[in-house]
């Protein structure tokens, strides 16, 4: 199958069930909301060593936030409820509570509640105040610029992590351009993050290593520096490979994001083929077949 002359491999991306939460952060202006969001979602590219995968889902107009100030929506994904609880507490506590003028709210309507302000209130040393507004409980913690307002809990839902697209290109410029276009399209889909730097990862991995202590190691089959070896998957014209990893609140969102990214990337000259990472289908619950997701109507 070809799309704009780009070969789409008959393969699938293998994704996993994860736990996710959305936190809405507001501040006096969008700059400070973004500062809080960037800090809270920093060092969160992969659950392998970061504890969670996180990113800024979208900026939110003042008219659509709980307190009428500009904000950002953050998504956090982890492999377990326990880990997600820990990550939310630490990241909201260290990066949002600390950010001038910020406030933090639950961003999902339903789900198992995870503690947020419930744990952070103790920073108030007894001067914290609880308020119930519209059936939702908030904590007001005195801080040096006024008070930090934080919703008591934030709902957690089952989600999908590890959707991916692998772009194989003639050169580095084409691979990067295709990846950038894909990420721009992916980020327009609600409920999605691409957690790596700029949404793109160059160090795609395979399961296992010759070193027993490592659970994952470089995806040598797609390293151009190892092209020519028998196990290489690259042809003579393929000189650079980049990957985009996608986490989403639902499988439908991940599929829509992958399709949007695929279509956008395939408009770049120099992109030769698109493939996806999987483990033979035995590890992940979700299989996103590249050719099938392209047949679905584009996300509006």
């Amino acid at each position: 199958m070809n799309l704009n002359g780009v070969f789409i491999e008959d393969t699938f991306a293998e994704a996993f069930g994860m736990k996710a939460a959305r936190v809405v952060v507001t501040a006096c202006d969008v700059v400070w909301a973004r500062h809080a969001g960037v800090a809270a979602t920093g060092f969160a590219t992969s659950v392998i060593a970061c504890g969670c995968e996180a990113g800024i889902e979208a900026e939110i107009d003042a008219a659509r936030t709980p307190d009428g100030r500009p904000g950002v929506a953050l998504l956090f994904f982890a492999v377990s409820t326990k880990e997600l609880t820990k990550q939310i507490e630490r990241r909201v506590g260290q990066c949002i509570l600390t950010c001038p003028s910020s406030a933090a709210y639950a961003g999902l309507a339903e789900g198992e509640p995870l503690p947020m302000g419930k744990a952070l209130r103790y920073f108030g040393d007894g001067f914290q105040i609880a308020k119930v507004i519209g059936g939702r409980r908030y904590w007001r913690v005195p801080v040096m610029d006024g008070e930090f307002l934080c919703e008591e809990t934030t709902p957690m839902v089952k989600a999908v992590g590890g959707g991916n697209l692998i772009f194989v290109a003639e050169n580095a410029a084409a691979a990067l351009a295709a990846s950038e276009r894909a990420v721009a399209a992916i980020r327009r889909v609600p409920g999605i993050i691409a957690p790596f730097p700029g949404g793109v990862v160059r160090s795609g991995s395979k399961v296992g290593s010759k070193y027993k202590a490592l659970p994952a190691s470089t995806n040598d089959a797609y390293c151009p520096g190892l092209r020519g070896r028998p196990a290489s998957m690259l042809t003579a014209e393929e000189n650079c490979v980049l990957e985009v990893v996608i986490d989403g609140l639902t499988a439908e969102a991940v599929a829509a994001a992958m399709a949007a990214g695929l279509r956008a990337a395939c408009e770049v000259a120099g992109l030769r083929r698109v493939t996806a990472g999987n483990y033979g289908g035995k590890l992940g619950q979700f299989h996103f077949k590249l050719r099938e997701i392209l047949e679905a109507p584009p996300c509006p």
Binding site: T26, P66, D67, G68, R69, A103, F127, I129, A130, K131, V132, I133, G134, Y138, R140, G146, E147, L149
Partner: protein
């Protein structure tokens, strides 16, 4: 479906309407409803002696031609809607658990006392101790929302524990006295000793002009809880009837506020916020 109870004989004295709530009447036949006993001292006259019963039992109960001698109206109601045309006596919507009570007139003392959920909307005035604790109780209102289009008497919100009381008119003396938590907002004037003995909670004063005369154990803070006020205001504008008396006052203009902390003679974590 709506059940209509129309007063055809004025009560001889204070009569309790405890238990005459939609969630209880819905399961009864019309004849059984007419035979329900009311409490009048040691006597138990049947409901049908005072009210003509019409319509069909369901989630909506309407009292017509009501009189302030009827107390305990909608007391302990758990669900449904209760509409009262005319005045009602003491303990209206006391111990309310859920549903909505609308009084198209004024109510007596201790309305919403012990309320835990639901909504009481009084289109006239409310007497003293709205949402307040009874003398032997540790806490008054514990949840839900009360809206009063008119004014309220003394000791409104006394020992209030949770929920919100929104008063479009004036409030009497000792408003929010001994308040434990929750939100009490007054769009008109408040009497003397507002917030006396307040432990926690928020007393919000919406009448622009001079600062409220508080007891000396309240101290003005440098910070006015802007984010909290934004959240609260947006919640009210989203959930209150825009044409209602309180909503018109609350939505009048962008809020700028002064804030006092107190009562420092008590727990001292309460706040009085004056919208200037």
């Amino acid at each position: 479906m709506s059940l209509r109870l129309t007063l055809h004989r004025p009560p001889p004295g204070r009569i309790s309407l405890a238990g005459i709530v939609p969630n209880r009447l819905a399961a009864l036949a019309m004849a059984d409803i007419e035979r329900l006993p009311l409490a009048w001292g040691k006597e138990t006259p049947a409901l049908g002696e005072f009210f003509r019963v019409a319509g069909a039992p369901g989630p909506h109960l309407v009292f017509e031609g009501m009189d302030a001698r009827f107390c305990d109206v909608a007391r302990g109601m758990a669900a449904g809607e209760c509409e009262i045309h005319g005045a009602a006596g003491d303990f209206v919507a006391a111990d309310l658990l859920g549903g909505r009570v609308v009084v198209r007139g004024s109510v007596g003392a201790f309305a919403a006392s012990g309320m835990r959920g639901g909504e009481l909307h009084v289109q006239g005035d409310a007497g003293e101790r709205l949402g307040a604790a009874l003398p032997w109780q540790a806490a008054g209102m514990r949840g839900g929302r009360v809206i009063v289009d008119g004014s309220v008497g003394a000791r409104c919100g006394d020992k209030m524990r949770r929920g919100e009381i929104l008063v479009a008119g004036d409030a009497g003396d000792f408003c929010a006295a001994r308040m434990v938590a929750g939100t009490l907002a007054v769009a008109g004037r408040v009497g003397a000793h507002a917030g006396y003995g307040m432990r926690r909670g928020t007393l919000l004063l919406l009448l622009p002009g001079a600062a409220p005369a508080l007891v000396p154990t309240f101290v003005e803070t440098a910070f006015a809880a802007d984010v909290f006020l934004r959240l609260l205001r947006r919640h009210w504008l989203a959930t209150l009837d825009a044409g209602g008396a309180f909503a018109r006052r609350a939505g009048a203009a962008e809020w700028r506020a002064r804030r006092w902390l107190g009562d420092l003679a008590s727990d001292g974590r309460g706040e009085v916020i004056h919208i200037v």
